[in-house]
Subunit: 226 residues, 2 copies
Amino acid sequence: MSTFAAAPTALIVHAHPEPRSFSTAQMTAAAQSLGAAGYRVDVLDLYADDWAPVLAREEFAPVEGPFKPQAEQLRAVEERTLDAAVRAHLDRLLAADLLVLSFPMWWFSLPAVLKGWVDRVFVMGGVFGGSHGLFGDAALAGKRAMLLFTTGGPSESFRPGGAFGPMDDFLFHIHRGMLEFVGYQVLEPVITYGPARMTDRERASALDAVRESVARVAADAGATVG
Amino acid sequence: MSTFAAAPTALIVHAHPEPRSFSTAQMTAAAQSLGAAGYRVDVLDLYADDWAPVLAREEFAPVEGPFKPQAEQLRAVEERTLDAAVRAHLDRLLAADLLVLSFPMWWFSLPAVLKGWVDRVFVMGGVFGGSHGLFGDAALAGKRAMLLFTTGGPSESFRPGGAFGPMDDFLFHIHRGMLEFVGYQVLEPVITYGPARMTDRERASALDAVRESVARVAADAGATVG
């Protein structure tokens, strides 16, 4: 794959408060791996950028009467009055062939700052609804997305019958409800279980495994979920 | 049930940006219903209180080396240095016999401000881990919790085989991963589908249904999920 004009773009949206964390090292490893595979890599670091995750009336043009978030998103797209930060992130999202959400799994879901990136940037009228439909008719149809994350618990806890519950069941709200909903083909997640308990040697080996998994998943459009 | 000394407490944690929304009216109806059933009702309105949902290094005592969120939560509980706002909310959570999370379903999950309330207030060492275990051994064991929310889509879309997917599957990450994880017995959710498309008459009727459902669910400890 060439890195010249026709290079596909990967947008990595990363959410960990510590630059020296395993999660951040894992994101960097994935970025290297995607770069080596010919992607132009765009990284959004939500903690570093101090992203404001709370969808609120103040980001929209003044409205009389009750504030209805989706109606205001739709109107802002139509009237070209989207908040500048949201518009900039939405443009980076729409330009990406591959979306990677990179995070530590907190409470079996996305950290709030990343959930609030979805709340604010997956704009009604911009990625679904309005002139777009849902799922296969939404704006990101034909593009791919994947999760890249760490857990606190060990992999055994996430197996069917494990102490927590099946990982696929926990991820359903993200895979189906966020990514497929806006049109993405969802790739296999790349997961590192329990990096907090690893030795330095295990950590280095885990980062190698991430590089390999990301390269394989990104290269293999057939390796999708569900 | 008496409203005197032995009255149980219900904590409602509400997350909608618009005081005149159906979601907020639904929360108020639920609060009335719980009050009528003998509960002392404590309401936390996250938008009104401008809750900061992003778990970050700055809320903890200074730490040398990499910031590890769970380790810092555990240390803050042990050393009694929890952030004052987190401590106050954690105390209200621990004092409640019934927790009600009240929200509009955004992206098949909690709005970011409410997810970040869980991220920051479900403190390791305070509600699970440390001297507490997980699930039946966690700090909220013996207490009950329920979801009270609205959807954009109609109920048909959330049936098995529906356009979106089964509601129970979307809620698994909250019911199992957040509420049961910290010990709660999870009650049946109270859901209003598509209030944005209702007439005033339908809306009034839906609020009556919420009052009845909340009274029934709160009174019936047997009506649990899973």
